[in-house]
Amino acid sequence: MTTRWFGAPVQRVEDDRLLRGHGRYTDDIDDGALECCFVRSPYAHARITSIDVEAARGMQGVVAVYTAADLPFGGVDLPLLIPHPNLTHGRTQRCLASDVVRYAGEAVAFIVADSRYVAEDAAELVQVEYEPLPVVITPEDAVRAEHLVHDDVPGNVAAEMLQEVGGVDAALAAAPHRKNLRFRYERGAANALEARAVWALWSDAEHRLTVYDSTQSPTSIRGGLAVLFGLPESSVDVIAPDVGGGFGSKIMLFYPDELLVPYAAMQLGRPVKWTEDRQEHFTAVNQERGQVHEVEVGFDDQGHVLALSDDFIHDGGAYTPYGIILPIITAAQVPGPYRIPNYRVRFRDLYTNAIPTSPYRGAGRPHACFVMERTLDVIAAELGLDRVEVRRRNLIQRDEFPYEVGVAWQDGNTVIYDSGNYPELLDRALTMLGPRPAGDHVGMGLAIYVEGTGVGPYEGAHVQVLVSGKVIAATGIPSQGQAHATVWAQVVADELGVDIKDVEVTSGDTRRFSWGVGTFASRSAVTAGNAMHVAASMVAAKAKQIAAEHLEANPDDLELVGGQVRVKGSPDRGMPLAAVAVLSNPVRYAFGGGTEAATQFAARARPGPPLQDGEQPGLEATGYYSPPGSTWASGCHAAYVRVDPRTFRLEILKYVVVHDCGRVINPLVLQGQIEGGVAQGIGGAFYERLAYDADGQLRNASFMEFLMPYATEIPPIEIDHIETPSPLNPLGVKGAGEAGVIPVGAVLASAIDEALGVPITEMPLSPLKLYELTR
């Protein structure tokens, strides 16, 4: 293949309409839709003793009010997406609670009205009587189990998992140095700027359900709705139109609205739309990151880690719709880029009276990185060694790949790093970081991480050359800003020898491609990117086959260049790809030209039936890519910070990133992913804190008090790349979506620790937290 588009900083094809205000997000779709509002529980844990919706039902402008009792699926537990043998006590919520509510924000009733203004007025008329129950809010509360979140789940333990590589007890006993450490990471929130929204229409005439959903997985939503409503999948269309950021929060399914809006549309025979507001988003959308780790590490005089034992508890929230993927990822990713010859990890996934957890950008990894990197800093301090040198001595070396860690991975396999060059990452980052700035209260921090990306099971793509010569391509997984339409056009354009302007990509629309999994886990470039490559390669092969007959050439002697299929070395012997598309369909074309070549009266009509055994009409192909295992991206971040010793204001003096995600499709898009990831990491490390009180109330459910960084908080970030291509896929790519966020907490903790001389063992930090720590 040529590499003309792949690797080039191609400007995005999505931008024009988004910049003109012509984007199409779910809430932009009206078509006379009825509008909705939820009644949600104000209590974190309570028994519902009565629900009275009569006044709301009677209000002018209200079209319907639903409680669990009004739904045919009111008694059905929502799906548990990823069951696991260790998840012995998995629990999911119901669409609308009727008995017990287990987090503040759990949905109780759903109102459909002429407008959202009316729906919100009606919500105030719904009378729900609650009998408050004791609340379990922190993971430490949960493990003490003085109260239970679910009556039938002893100890609040949803799952427990123990893994060991080597012999940890013996190695610890023999280690010259041992240290016990405790690390705590609090919950965070993705907070995409577009809150969630769903729009649905039922057509009686066509017996067809159409749903627009700000989801990261329209194919899965479609499958679930088809089952729930007893429809063939072919009668359900789910489209993720423009989605205003997701970062994991929109991969969770099903949120109750994703069932209730389509259901109401079917019942009422009118389009129905629900759009979440920001306060609601804070109490209705899944969160992540709460964990407490108890670590015991054994090491030698040179700082080599001999054994590491990590026993951690994971704040799972009130239900486990997403299984135990998060703690599995953490358990797998604690060792990171380091050689840990003896490693034991146990986790308990615990129920708390808070919003359920599911992946948020980083998904189990920032906490894992924090644990390992903080542990290495402690080892360096104990031995009086340089932090960099301790890392250097423990890094897996370039010649050790594939490197098997030996613990379980989220895809059911064990963790095997496919390729990487970790010492090079470290060296480059230190060179970029340069000399320490002058002044007091300056600290240096660094962290190295790996990230399992490109997880299976598969994605697919359809690529077609139209008789105009234009190319259309589609895949099932949607974009939330990752430039899918640009980067996949690059992949397809290279394979077909066309300009990317001639390739139009559709993603996340089941009408165009109905199979697939979703956009999450830094998997799109690997899975869908390679599927695009596979499908486009099939189209290229078919184009050569068809053109070969007409050019009287061997297909192997043909190449696709400049929109032509031509004989290598004889550029004048060729035909336009558009003409090949005409030939691929042996019937008459009224428009588009080339008809004479594609009929039975053509000069070189071949013998036999027009479509011969194994042939399909059309210059198109559907291809799939299923990775044999995850691709492991990696990186090193380093920073200098200054902390004001009186106000504890954080100033990031310099922040550098060296990143390796294998072959880079589009450096412009990659840079944006990393810069954005680091910014989210800085927000999560120092500004954003979900302030739950003892009653399980989120006390700062607004952007006024949950402090997401503005431009003023984010410093310039210097980025460099190395490329160790993945040997596992044709494009040699690895994922990049989550990388930027992963090590930021560890880097800032290390730097602030040194700047202030206080041990940093928890996240997030804040000026107030630093003030308390230094007192």
Binding site: G21, D27, L193, Q482, A711, T712, I714
Partner: protein, 151 residues
């Protein structure tokens, strides 16, 4: 009120937010709603040339004023406005949800400071949240917009 140069005498419910009126009554869905409490800046529009949060205003308060939304910057089929073009060239948008608000804020910034310093750029965009880009590309886009405006 006048919106993007056109008179819109349509009657409006007194409690209707300007953001909802623009989006759902006038169909100008380029103005986005990210928080409805005046923090994120996604709903930024120009009111008589000054950047305002359309989620913090009632539509009736705009009576007698000129409102400019992102749709008003350039006509269909015409080239992008220099600020929009700069955002494109500098990859200053990902999901695009905050983008119209940023573009309107940058217009307001450049109207006050046609040749802004780095500090003025920082302050000028510090009323808008972006969860995707980390702002570096948006800062670059403002610098580029100044260049394009001179050309």
């Amino acid at each position: 009120m006048r919106v993007n140069g056109n008179a819109h005498p349509a009657p409006v419910d007194t409690r209707r937010l300007l953001s909802d009126h623009l989006r759902h009554d006038l169909g100008l869905t380029g103005t986005h709603v990210g928080c409805e409490h005046g923090v994120c800046g996604c709903c930024t529009v120009l009111l008589d040339g000054a950047a305002v949060r359309s989620c913090l205003m009632l539509a009736v308060q705009a009576e007698g004023h000129e409102v400019t939304t992102v749709e008003g910057l350039t006509r269909e089929g015409a080239p992008l406005h220099p600020v929009q073009q700069a955002f494109h060239e500098c990859h200053a948008l990902q999901c695009g949800f905050c983008t119209p608000g940023f573009v309107m804020s940058v217009l307001s910034l450049l109207a006050q400071h046609p040749d802004p310093t780095a500090h003025e750029i920082e302050e000028g965009i510090a009323g808008n949240l972006c969860r995707c880009t980390g702002y570096a590309s948006i800062r670059r886009a403002v610098v580029r917009a100044v260049e394009l405006s001179r050309e």
